[in-house]
Amino acid sequence: MNWRKVAAGIAVSLLTVSLLAGCGSKNEAPKATDAPKTTADAPKEKIELEWWGWWASAQRKPTIDKIVKDWNDKHPDVQVKYVYVPWDQILTKYVASVAAGNPPDVCSTDLALLPMRANKKQAMDLSTLGAAAMKDEFFPNFWNAVTFNGKPYALPWMGDSRFLYYNTDHFKEVGLDPAKGPVTWDDLWKFADKLDKIENGKIARAGFYPLAGNFATTANISSQANVQGWILNAKGTMFDNRAFPAINSDVTVQTFDWVKKWDNRYGRSQIASFMANFQGGAVHPFTLGKLSMVVETPTFMGEALKNNPNLKMARVPVPTPDGVQHPAAALSSGFGIEIPANSKHPKEAFEFAKYWATEAAAVWTVEQNDFPANKKVADSIKTDAFQAVVKQMTNTTYMQTPLYAPAWADAIKPAVDDLLAGKKDSKAALADAQKALTDMVRDNSNK
């Protein structure tokens, strides 16, 4: 029996394990180290803040590095360490670390589920750190996004809006004035009459389809969820006082009817096949020239032109049923920065958060072609295109996720599916959605 071999094997394994473990714990950032006394003043503890974000691509990372370096140069006693966490797991990891008591000092997040995090004591109430004074620096809809029970639980950082983009070449081709985009829902229909190209029963080009593009809040992207934007655009609501489901109102029924009309226009299987061609986000029908008008985010123009430099496009505010713009004609997503409830260095973390939402936001906006939630930053960028987005802010709303229905989109999607499949009419589909939402709210609010 070669015990020596067995023992050697076990020793090697243990060695490997301890090596890996050693690598791990050696590189674990020490939370605070004593800086040597160099002056006669009271010694300053050098603090290292751990900051989690989801940017690591070749496109985004350089800006992050620059921002971190700028801060670290200016604040030798409060150093920031950026840690990349993949977007799809950052909230899970965040919650786990808060639960375990070793959270990051500051974390970037999507603001969609902020009310939940505030309510469940995961995010820190920033009014204790003096955040309330910053209220007027930000666009009102973004400040609302970070507020829960009247207190701010995050600082808004980037936001966006929605525009109606249209292909000017297509307009010219069918005799529409490329300088005049659609203004009402009727315009969309009439323009599409000219723009559609159906060949052999298949859609070669669609003029418009309300469920294409991006008209919902980020966390819930799927084509069915886009009804969210249209409901708000039609001055409907989904939740009363942001808490109680009220989705089966007349306005929502009319909106669903309208969406169904578009679906019937093309034929269910034709439009389903057409839309399926672009699932997975690999390609966008508008970029490919297969869709003439679509609702999308402000950054879409840059991305589309990058992928298809021959594209000729323009944008206008999102059309409303009667053509009049109002504060909910478009909606926005929101990203912000939070401090975990049990963060170890809240004051310093807040300083960095402020920096991130103001000076850093300015750098990011310019380099990444994004849109800041901070008004001063927005006003400092004087290009026409940018100011057009600023103007759009008055017509942009932020729908905060209802506290007791964070998965609201999961109740809406089947309703839309049923509607489009012809299983239910608008009223029935919405009645079911209302019931599902009510159940959801009841389950989540049960103490």
Partner: protein, 294 residues
């Protein structure tokens, strides 16, 4: 089928010839069927390869091209350098390697323990063992994270590697099935000769189980190599990140660069394929049992 008039030896020869012809016929069919299935099997891989070689313009042309011209092999270089893949490869190799060692050793011991002799509580413990793989991991994830946090193991590879040295239901079960197919007489013979149980385990059971062990090694390697959620949750230092985390870096929130994602996916996949191809003979080494089976 048999021609009675023929002599016995000629009978055997012609029967053998018929067998050979039949065998070759069936083999031919097999190759055809396999080739057909292979096309079905390969197309996602081919599509991945094809996408990885495209330019932005080709990706967005909306056309279905299988062989892009020109083939942008430079995408692979670009993908490799845009993220710290060299370091991630090293990390992932160490991680997967340790997991393989731990899995092989612990599970072969455990499986042998379950089959060598009846003992009090065997069925119940085996049921519990299987039970551990029947509970969805997502609900145990947070309590486990809190546990490891109390042990101060978070931020390192310990929560990912150490449990591999303590058995795993899937692999223990697999080896148990295989071990149960080994002739018990061999064990008895060795015991009669005075061999200890560890000797039997090491010198009798393991050598006869090379294919099963190779399978366990390959699968546990692949599992660790492609592990995503585990490393994401437990690692905080970018210097320790794995290949899958590196892959995620290509996915911006809005603009996914598909050709690089595919290129990275291809070269992440390659080592596992190469390992399998290189060590194939272990998977098909027959259990050279002679003289026992009758």
């Amino acid at each position: 089928m048999y021609n009675v008039a023929r002599s016995p030896s000629a009978l055997q020869t012609s029967a053998r010839r018929r067998r050979t012809a039949t065998t070759w016929f069936w083999k031919g069919i097999a190759v055809l069927v396999l080739s057909g299935i292979s096309i079905f099997v390969l197309f996602p891989a081919v599509w991945m390869l094809s996408t990885s070689l495209k330019t932005n313009a080709q990706l967005f042309s909306g056309e279905v091209t299988w062989i892009p011209r020109p083939a942008m092999w430079s995408n692979y270089v670009k993908a490799w350098v845009s993220v710290d893949f060299t370091r991630y490869t090293l990390n992932t190799t160490l991680y997967a390697g340790s997991v393989v060692i731990g899995t092989l050793v612990s599970n072969s011991l455990v499986a042998y323990g379950f089959i060598r002799h009846k003992f009090w509580g065997r069925e119940v413990l085996f049921a519990i063992l299987l039970g551990t793989m029947m509970i969805p991991g997502m609900v145990t994830m947070i309590p486990q994270y809190i546990l490891f946090s109390k042990l101060q193991w978070t931020g390192s590879y310990l929560p990912l590697v150490v449990p591999a040295f303590f058995g795993n239901a899937f692999y223990a079960f697999l080896l148990r099935q295989f071990f149960m197919g080994l002739p018990k007489d061999l064990f008895e013979a060795a015991r009669i000769d005075g061999a200890g149980e560890m000797w039997i385990w090491y010198k009798v059971v393991l050598p006869l189980s090379k294919p099963a062990l190779a399978t366990v090694a390959l699968f546990s390697f692949e599992g660790a190599w492609n592990d995503y959620v585990g490393p994401v949750i437990y690692l905080n230092d970018p210097n320790l990140y794995t290949l899958q985390i590196g892959l995620s870096m290509f996915r911006n929130t809005s603009d996914v660069t598909w050709q690089f994602v595919m290129a990275a996916s291809v070269f992440i996949m390659l080592p596992v394929v190469i390992l399998f191809a290189a060590f194939q003979r272990y998977f098909v080494e027959g259990a050279a049992v002679s003289g026992i089976k009758g």
